[in-house]
C-alpha cells in the first residue's frame, strides 16, 4: 500500500519495501494530500530491460529511452541486471525494480536509489539538494557544508549541545529553494547515515563551508570561490534541461546569502567563535 507524503513542495505517493531506513525518517512527512508524484519500489526475481534507444552508458549503467519513458539499467560485474529504474521525463512517475538476489543489501540500495530519484524530482520542482548538515536555531537555518569527513555533523552537534533550541533540519542533503522573501531550506527523509531530519522549513541565515583546522578562523569568500564551493557541494543534475535552473539558484545564493569558509576545530570554542561572528554577541 502506498502512503502519501508532503516533502518540501512535493506531494508524493511513495511505496517502499524496507523499514530499516524509512521507519525512523519518513513519518514526519506523512500527509493526506493528493499526490502529484509517484515513486514505488518493487523486488523481483528477474528484471526485464525495456527495448528502446540507448542514450548513453557510463560504467555499469545504461540510460535507455523507450516510448515516453526512460530507464536506468545497472548491471553487476557478472552482467546480471540488479536495478531497473523506469520513469517519466518529468519524474512524476517512477518505478524502481530491484533484483531479489541483492539479498541483505536491498534496504541500503533501496534507500540510496529512492534518494537519488527523489533529488531529481526535487530539482525539477526548484528544490536544490546541497551536501550539508542543516540546523535550525532561533527560527533560522545554518548550513554546514563541505566534503565527506570535513566535520559538518560535528559542528552541527556542537550547536545542539550548547544551545537549547537547536534542531536538525537534515544531516546530509537539505533542500534549498527561493521565495520572494529570500532563500529557505527544508528537510526530507533522505538524511544520509543518520535519521536526523525534520519536516520543517526555515529561512537560511548563513552557509558555512567547513575545513578542519587547529585554529578557528572565519573567512569571507570571493565570488570565484563561492561558485567553486557551491558547485562542488550541490546536487548537480545530469540533464542539460535542469542545469540552468540550478545555476540560477546558485547565482542567487552567491548574491543574497552570507557564505563563509570556516577553518575550525571540534570543541566548544569552534561553536563560540562562529556564534559570536554570526550573531555579534556572546552566546
Amino acid at each position: 500500500m502506498a502512503d502519501t507524503y508532503r516533502i518540501g513542495n512535493i506531494n508524493l505517493s511513495f511505496e517502499y519495501v524496507f523499514d530499516k531506513y524509512f521507519l525512523s525518517r519518513i513519518m514526519d512527512y506523512k500527509a493526506d494530500v493528493f499526490p502529484e508524484y509517484r515513486m514505488r519500489v518493487v523486488i523481483r526475481d528477474n528484471l526485464v530491460v525495456p527495448e528502446g534507444k540507448i542514450r548513453y552508458r557510463f560504467d555499469d549503467r545504461t540510460i535507455i529511452e523507450y516510448g515516453t519513458r526512460a530507464a536506468i539499467v545497472k548491471r553487476d560485474d557478472k552482467g546480471m541486471i540488479t536495478h531497473l529504474i523506469t520513469y517519466s521525463p518529468d519524474y512524476k512517475d517512477i518505478t524502481i525494480e530491484l533484483v531479489k538476489a541483492l539479498g541483505s543489501r536491498l534496504p541500503d540500495i533501496e534507500y540510496m536509489i529512492t534518494g537519488m530519484m527523489f533529488f531529481e524530482m526535487a530539482v525539477s520542482r526548484g528544490l536544490l539538494p546541497i551536501h550539508a548538515s542543516a540546523i535550525g536555531h532561533d527560527g533560522e537555518a545554518i548550513l554546514f557544508s563541505g566534503p565527506s569527513g570535513a566535520g559538518k555533523s560535528t559542528q552541527a552537534e556542537l550547536w545542539q549541545q550548547n544551545l537549547e533550541d537547536v534542531i536538525f533540519i537534515n544531516d546530509d542533503k537539505p533542500l534549498l529553494y527561493e521565495t520572494e522573501v529570500g532563500l529557505y531550506v527544508t528537510g526530507s527523509p533522505w538524511s544520509g547515515k543518520t535519521s536526523r531530519n525534520k519536516n520543517v522549513t526555515m529561512k537560511v541565515k548563513a552557509i558555512i563551508f567547513i575545513e578542519k583546522s587547529t585554529v578557528n578562523h572565519l573567512e569571507a569568500l570571493s565570488v570565484h570561490d563561492k561558485i567553486n564551493f557551491f558547485l562542488r557541494n550541490i546536487y548537480r543534475p545530469r540533464e542539460e534541461a535542469k542545469i540552468d535552473n540550478v545555476l540560477e539558484l546558485v547565482e542567487k545564493m552567491i548574491r543574497d546569502l552570507p557564505v563563509y569558509r570556516y577553518f575550525c576545530g571540534k570543541d566548544i570554542e569552534a561553536f563560540e567563535y562562529l556564534y559570536q561572528a554570526l550573531y555579534r554577541r556572546d552566546y
Binding site: 542514450r55 561558485i227 567553486n228 558547485l231 562542488r232 548537480r236 545530469r238 545555476l247 547565482e251 552567491i254
Partner: protein, 92 residues
C-alpha cells in the same frame, strides 16, 4: 580537434563555468572556469579546428603577438586535456 559533446559553458555571477552533463557529469571532478580568451577559444573549439587555427584567430581577434598567442593556446589546450574534454586531439 573539437570539444566533446556534453560540456556546456555557462555564466554564473559573471564567471564562465564549464558544466558537464549526461555521462560527462559522472566522471568530471572539480570545476573549470574560463577567462575571456578561454571563452573565445572554447567557442572556436565547438567546431573542428587545429592548434594553428586557434593561434591565428587569437592573434587576429585579440591583437596579441604570435608568441603570446601560442603560449595561451597551449596552456588552454593542456587544461582541456587534463579534464579530457577534447575529441580528435591532434597530439594523438
Amino acid at each position: 580537434m573539437k570539444l566533446k559533446p556534453n560540456f556546456l559553458l555557462r555564466e554564473v555571477a559573471g564567471e564562465n563555468i564549464v558544466v558537464p552533463v549526461d555521462a560527462a557529469a559522472i566522471n568530471f571532478n572539480g570545476i573549470m572556469s574560463l577567462n575571456g580568451t578561454g571563452k573565445f577559444l572554447w567557442n572556436q573549439l565547438k567546431e573542428e579546428t587545429t592548434i594553428d587555427e586557434l593561434i591565428e584567430s587569437l592573434v587576429e581577434s585579440y591583437d596579441v603577438d604570435e608568441s603570446i598567442a601560442k603560449r595561451d593556446v597551449s596552456l588552454f589546450i593542456e587544461k582541456l586535456r587534463s579534464h579530457d574534454i577534447l575529441d580528435n586531439d591532434e597530439r594523438q
